[in-house]
Symmetry: none
Subunit: 160 residues, 2 copies
DNA sequence: AGCATGTTGACTTATACTGACCAATAATTT
DNA sequence: AAATTATTGGTCAGTATAAGTCAACATGCT
């Protein structure tokens, strides 16, 4: 069982972050690709699969002259076990009502701010509307999609 | 890591603005170009790319003798104006890149927090993935859906 | 075998910077 | 006053550079 290139590059970036105090690091896609003897787009794959917002990272980049890729590791030092636990509570499907109750609870316990709750509710509502009117998704399937979205959001916040 | 001329000039102007109380500053294109050893049109490039309305600035200028360039940092009196402005910027369709850029901007201007940006990015990405893999939505239609989501979120935040 | 994950490269898009040419305004000359 | 000249900024297209996308192909894991 060999270690994948993706894993190696992921760890390299993790180390860079650690050395840099942990919050951000800048790099050049071309340089990284050269260092690891791979094609540049491999870096995009690593970023997409390992440094996604669901994992608590934000990636900024710029093309052209003086281009760069900047990876930000958000650190909110919130009670991540708490939120992680709640993520389990969401399960594989969740109704709008249940979701809203959960969010109210989170806000009451100051795990998310009112504005954050608002954003989450608007996103959920938007997805619900799209599912119903645009794509004719069944109610149960919408509950599944809602659970997926909610879990991504909560783990993103927990890992941040 | 090399820093672009554009960045240097941008920071110089930012400093001027700060010194000047923050709302406006006047300068001469030729002088600036000389100071930074570049061609005058480079200044136009900086203004177009860094001090555009989407970054919260307006630029006035006059040619000929005693010509000048005045940079105004615009501020909104009420959130309705702000929403109007942001919604115009988003427009009826927006690419992933443009959206991300806008969010970076909003965060830099302290209009949203890093956590809020993270949540928004997760939501956008979730919608993008669903649109592509689940519902086979065309790229342009996804840009429209992204703009819709973004406008709902920004409007909600401004009114909330 | 089949599905998920990883890897590649051709093609596309975005940004930085320059220089030649254009446009507007003020100052000076006739 | 009109014409001319000097002074200033604007535009655009070309060149160089760097990142993003996408889909085909490969590998690995049940």
């Amino acid at each position: 069982m060999s270690v994948s290139l993706t894993k190696i590059i992921e760890e390299y970036i993790d180390n860079l972050l650690e050395e840099n105090g942990g919050d951000a690091v800048s790099l050049r896609r071309k340089d990284l690709a050269e260092r690891f003897g791979c094609v540049p787009s491999q870096i995009n794959y690593v970023l997409r699969s390992r440094f996604a917002p669901e994992n608590g990272f934000l990636v900024e980049s710029q093309r052209g002259g003086h281009g760069y890729i900047r990876i930000l590791q958000l650190s909110f030092n919130n009670c991540d076990e708490e939120i992680e636990h709640l993520s389990e509570l969401v399960g594989s499907a969740i109704t709008e009502q249940e979701a809203r109750r959960l969010l109210v609870n989170l806000q009451n316990r100051d795990l998310i701010s009112p504005r954050e709750r608002l954003i989450i509710e608007i996103s959920m509502r938007n997805q619900e509307d799209n599912g119903r009117t645009l794509f004719d998704v069944s109610p149960y399937r919408r509950d599944i999609m809602r659970a997926d979205l909610l879990k991504k959001l909560l783990t993103g916040l927990a890992l941040g």
